[in-house]
Amino acid sequence: MDSPLRLIASNPLDQLARTLEALLVVASAPLTVEELAEAADDEPERVEAALGLVRERYSEARSGIVLEHVAGGWAFRSSREAAEACARLFEKPAQRNLSQAALETLAIVAYLGPCSRPDIARIRGVAADSAVANLSERGLISEAGRDDASLGGAIRYRTTPLFERVFGLESLSQLPRLDDVGESADAIRDRLHEVAEKRSA
C-alpha cells in the first residue's frame, strides 16, 4: 500500500501546484483561475484541481501561510494563529525623520507658496515626482490648482493644515525668517533659481 507521502510526491498535479505557489507568492493582488491558467500555460480545470492541493497544504493549523479565496480570486494570507505577530510587524512607531528629498520639497512648497513639480525639480536639480507623491500620500501637501489656470498647466501643490500641526506652526507666517536668503517669497524663489542654474551649468 502506498503511503500518503508517496502519493503526494507522485501526484501529476504536483508540479503545477508548485507553479501556482510561485505565482501566488509574487502577486500583489488576488489572482483568478484564468490568470493562473494563462501564466502556468495549463488548463483551467487542472489549475482548479491543483489549487485544491495548494489549499490543503496551506491551511490553518498546518502552515503559517494560508491560501484564501477572496472576491478577486486567490491569494496567500498569514494564518490566524500568527495574527498577533503580524500586527506587531505592521505596527510601527512614528517616523522620526523625513527623507532629504521630502524635506527639501516640503521646504520649497512651504516658503515659496504653491509650486508645481517642474518648479520643484528646477530648484532641486532633480526630479521631484516621488517626493511629491510621498508627501501627498502622507497628507503634508495637497493640490492647489494649476499653473496658468489653463488645463494644460502643471498641478501646483501647497502645504496642508496637517503640515502646520506636524511642524508646530499656527500658520505659514510663523516659518523661521530667511532674510539671509531673501526677504520675500519672490526674492527667495529668485535666489534659488539663480543658484540652481549655476549648479546645472
Binding site: F76, A94, V166, F167, Q174, L175, K198
Partner: protein
Amino acid sequence: MIVRELELDLDAFAGPFDLLLTLVLKDELDLRELDVAGIVVAFIERLAERDELDLEACGEFLVLISALLELKARGLFPEEAAELADLEPEAAAEELARRLAEYRRMKDAAAWLRERLESEGDRFFRLGPAPLAPKLETPLAPQEPERLAEVIRLLAKEPPQVSLAHMALRFPPVSQFLERFRSLLRRRSRFDFDQEVGELTRVEQAVAFLALLDMRRVGEITIDQAAPFAPIRISGTDVEREASWTVRSA
C-alpha cells in the same frame, strides 16, 4: 611598413588603422570603448615580423597613438584635463593611469552586474505589500520648523567652481586645420609643422596632426622629417585636387 594600413582586430573595432582614425574623428566610434593597448600590441607584433627596425613607422605610430591616448583621456576626464596639464609629465601619467584603472574597474564591475542580472533573472519577488496584508500607516513625529529653513539655506548656497561646464568643451574640428594648412600651402610650397602649431594647446596640436595624416593619406601633402625629433616639414604635392576635395572628417 605603412602604419595606416596596420590591420587591427579589437573588441570594438576590426579593420585598418586609418579607418579607425576616420571613425574616431567622425565621432562614429567611442574612444572610451577602444583598447589602445591592443593597438600597441598589434603594432609591435607587426614590427616583430620584420627583420629591420622601421624608424619612420615607429615615429609615426608613436605620435599617432599619443594623440589617440590624449583624446581618450580627454574623453574620460574632461574637467580634469587642465589640472593634469599643470602636473609634471610623470605625475600626470601616473594620475591618468590611476584614473583609467578606476574607470576600468568600474567597467568590470558593470560587466559583473550584467552577468549577475542574467543569472538571477529567474528569481521573482513581490514589490510592495501583500494582497491581504494589513494597511500600513506610519505617523510622522513632530518636526522642527528650523530644519525647513536650513534646507532652503543649503539650496541657496553658491556652488563652487566645479561645474560640469567643462564637459561642453569641444575639440577644435579637424576641418579647421585642413582649411588652415591648405590655405598655407596655397601661399607657400612647404611649412614647418612645429612652427605652425607651437602656440597651440597639446590637444589642438594632436588634432592638427590628425589633419596632416588625413591630408597625407589622400596624397595631398608629403611629410618629411630629417631625423627623430627634427622639425616636421610639410610640402604640398603638385596634384591639383582642391576642386574635387571634400572634407572627409570634421
